[in-house]
Symmetry: C2
Subunit: 221 residues, 2 copies
DNA sequence: GGGGGCCTACCGAACGTTCGGTTGCGTTGA
DNA sequence: TCAACGCAACCGAACGTTCGGTAGGCCCCC
């Protein structure tokens, strides 16, 4: 008897997104053809267009949903947290964790902006979402510097350095590798707080269960 | 009267490389056609093939020369430098500086490995060159940890974090931006040494004139 | 006069996308 | 109860365009 949750992966739309994020992350958007995608989900190239209006719209959908998930999760995580060093620690841990847990989606989010037609609605929208996310970092660093708890030569410089460190995780992290996700996050938080000369780090660690689990992120590497 | 250095940019090979690195960095290798490249250097697509054996060979050439330049410059910079913290500082400053000064070439080097046919001679060669470069980092961190001057939870983790910080520079640095190249390098060195808990940083700063100037790197942004 | 440098013209293949058609399931009306 | 209908899901074939690459010839300079 079948006790499982019905037809989980019969939803073609989800399977297409899943294959798309895998191929876009591995080969890049431009090097991935609709036929590649169709083969991966056992459809013909024409069949894809029943579920997707265009190749670029598919990319835009993935990027939009990814950014919204990140922004929402970040807002939930930071909710009520006051100390700038706590906020920065949460930002570092969560950005690192999402890049480790959803490396394919984040690689597409971080690297395929240039594949959206410049000036298109989708392109502008993704830029706005990215800015909205980065504002969390800007505010945390500005608050910390304003309160004198961070001593930092250049807020923008520090932010870019730390964000690069976190986003780079999607390029090398493997769940079965040498370090656990918790170790990576802890180490990166330590580096980040040292970078802004924050005094000994305190209090709560990030509740990673608040992070989004993108339903289309393939489970494998 | 023309007092300039003769026919600098009449060398078609160089102009092609210059345009290629610009287009590959901006649009990606897969999204750049031979015809795009030809238009950029005022040739026809067929004319390109008089100077280049294939599109992929052109990419491989750029990546190979870029990596060799980086490796050679790093060896020169580190020559005779003993202290692990000095070596690490030089590695951080030089990797940051080359990504700031040659953002297009480094973006291609860092991001287009996947565009080389897997298993091809060129692909394997570039991987070997990248490993050869990273060994400089591995040795510096191992030496520092071995001598007890670095206190670091995980050498690989620290290396990846710091290298991501440095390579990220090519994505945002602008010569006319808020911070000078020297400021960026100094700040990143400070962050890096704090990351490995090195005691107060000492001695020589990097002689950036030892870094390679890729002749094909376009001067503009 | 011969070769480097570049052209016009073209090839076969692959591209994103569209179109007309078929299948099969769920709902409806008599 | 069952024919009739609607519609989501998909396919095979083709559209026009662009792709990486090639063949052969023209021109200019040594």
């Amino acid at each position: 008897m079948d006790t499982s949750l019905t037809d989980r992966d019969t939803d073609a739309g989800l399977r297409i997104r899943s294959a798309a994020v895998l191929l876009f992350a591995r080969q890049g958007y431009a090097a991935t053809s609709i036929r590649d995608l169709a083969r991966a989900v056992n459809l013909t190239n024409a069949g894809i267009y029943h579920h997707v209006s265009s190749k670029e719209a598919l990319l835009a959908d993935l990027m939009r949903a990814g950014h919204r998930g990140l922004i929402d999760a970040t807002a939930r995580l930071l909710d009520g947290v006051q100390q700038p060093s706590d906020r920065l620690a949460l930002l570092i841990a969560s950005l690192t964790a999402i890049h480790a847990r959803s490396p394919l989606t984040t690689r597409v989010m971080d690297g395929e902006l240039r594949s959206l037609t410049p000036g298109s609605t989708a392109h502008d929208e993704i830029i706005a979402l990215r800015d909205e996310y980065e504002d969390h970092w800007r505010r945390a660093l500005a608050d910390g510097a304003g309160q004198g708890v961070f001593r930092v030569a250049d807020q923008k410089l520090s932010r870019l350095a730390l964000m690069s460190m976190c986003t780079g995780t999607s390029e090398w992290y493997r769940p079965d590798g040498d370090s656990s996700l918790e170790q990576v996050c802890a180490e990166f938080v330590a580096i980040g707080l040292a970078a802004v000369r924050a005094p000994a780090r305190p209090t709560a660690s990030a509740d990673l269960s608040l992070l989004p689990d993108f339903p289309w992120e393939p489970p494998d590497a």
